[in-house]
């Protein structure tokens, strides 16, 4: 397998893009990634597009007006891991020698649904019974608080931290800080979550250009090396499942660390899939940043805040940056790649050498999650 670099990234800021179609939301991110890489459109040999709700041929529709057609375009749906899965496919194609340069991007427009929770597929048993993503995560949180003796008030510190980071991110959907009191007294959604424990629905796009290592210097690009690209699915089980132990992420994290040849202690900065407040705690533990049940202390001590020893979700995370599901995975990579290149301005993590992204999702009966993607990047 050949080594692969990311040579360009771009974002369409997350928020509400009324009056723009899904493909129109994708294009600014793709154009920004091309500019960032400093390459021509004709250099791109293949494209992979991740989207959960973009519909048939979203990749082709997005690339048509850019003039990037006539190449293999693959559309990927993998719930919240859609674009990270598209990225993983581009990575594998380049690593195996099939292409030298490929584009991966993700896009979604959740404002098309007019608010509320994201639509799930009704043939799933629990979905047919009325379950929703906030309910799944809320039950996970209830159990976690019960097992580790935490109060909802302590959990409410997670969104406060996320919003503090997002306030420094001009691409975030929420760019204002909130107080603990505001989180606690916000509209209740599903106990222990108030509205501010939940990521907003929104629109956005994200893109990355990947290139074989040998080509990076020739192109004059500032590349960031992909040290691990891990993609897996959940294991189905009908009976008891420990909801505080994310089996798909635990398994993926072990494989990703092995592939990169590093341990948890070597990660300087991470973007975890914090669709709801409880998720950041569970994933800090799953990635070995602390022991089980102790993640809240990372928030309380400031260790995972900007300025701390190892910031988690410097972009503001899904809670602050927003979560147009198909765009999320590559948007996390945009943040980590820019952190490693020292381009994050007021939210720059000092001496960031190795960073990690983690996008997981897809609520389905009998699964922890349906899909999980983990990527590790190094300078």
């Amino acid at each position: 397998m050949r080594r692969v670099d990311v040579i360009g990234v771009g974002l369409t800021p997350f928020g509400r893009h009324h009056g723009r179609s899904t493909s129109e939301i994708a294009r600014p991110a793709i154009l920004a990634a091309l500019r960032d890489a400093g390459i021509e459109r004709r250099d791109v040999q293949a494209a992979y597009c991740g989207s959960a709700y973009g519909g048939m041929m979203i990749g082709q529709r997005s690339l048509a007006a850019i003039g990037l057609t006539g190449i293999p375009i693959t559309n990927v749906e993998n719930a919240c891991s859609s674009s990270a899965t598209a990225f993983a496919m581009a990575y594998r194609a380049i690593a195996s020698g099939q292409y030298d340069i490929a584009l991966a991007f993700g896009v979604d427009k959740l404002s098309q649904f007019g608010g509320g929770t994201i639509p799930l597929v009704n043939e799933d048993w629990e979905v047919s019974q009325g379950i929703s993503m906030p309910m799944i995560y809320a039950m996970r949180a209830t159990r976690y608080l019960h097992e580790y003796g935490l109060t909802p008030e302590r959990l409410a510190q997670v969104p406060v931290k996320a919003r503090k980071h997002g306030a420094r991110n001009p691409d975030a959907q929420f760019q204002s800080e909130v107080t603990l009191e505001q989180v606690i007294s916000a509209r209740p959604v599903a106990d222990p979550f108030t509205l501010l424990h939940c990521c907003p629905t929104g629109d956005g796009g994200a893109a990355a250009l990947l290139c074989a290592e040998q080509m990076t210097a020739r192109l004059g690009a500032q590349g960031v090396r992909i040290l691990a690209s891990e993609l897996t699915s959940g294991k189905f089980r009908a009976g008891f499942r420990d909801m505080t132990e994310p089996e798909i992420t635990l398994r993926g994290a072990a494989l990703a660390y092995e592939e990169a040849g590093i341990g948890a202690d070597e990660i300087n900065v991470a973007e975890f899939h914090d669709a709801f407040s409880i998720a950041e705690l569970i994933y800090c533990e799953a990635f070995g940043f602390c022991a089980r049940g102790e993640a809240i202390s990372l928030v309380e001590s400031g260790e995972t805040s900007l300025g701390g020893r190892r910031p988690v979700n410097p972009s503001g995370g899904l809670l602050s940056k927003g979560h147009p599901v198909g765009a999320t995975g590559i948007a996390q990579m945009v943040e980590i790649v820019n952190q490693l290149r020292g381009r994050c301005g007021s939210r720059q993590v000092e001496n960031a050498k190795i960073g990690l992204t983690h996008a997981t999702g897809g609520g389905a009966t009998g699964f922890d999650h349906g899909a999980c993607t983990i990527h590790i990047f190094g300078q």
Partner: protein, 75 residues
């Protein structure tokens, strides 16, 4: 696929009180049944849901979710 008769008792694994914009909050939860299966259902009755407490399970055919969970040790 063959029909399978679920046990009528279990323990409450977790729950959440869901607040809709209109109407009273409704509790939903996961019950772990005595045969090892887990079911998602609506929690009925006035008793506060308590994790790991015994519950009884019943089924409804006229409204969703089909599975109903009731705290057993409630006064």
């Amino acid at each position: 696929m063959a029909p399978y008769l679920l046990p009528r008792t279990g323990t409450l694994y977790s729950f959440t009180l869901v607040h809709r914009k209109d109407g009273v909050p409704v509790a939903f939860g996961y019950a772990d049944l005595s045969d090892g299966l887990r079911v998602f259902g609506r929690i009925e009755g006035d008793a506060n849901p308590i994790l790991d407490s015994r519950v009884s399970i019943s089924a409804r055919s006229d409204s969703l979710p089909l599975c109903r969970i009731r705290m057993e040790d409630a006064p």
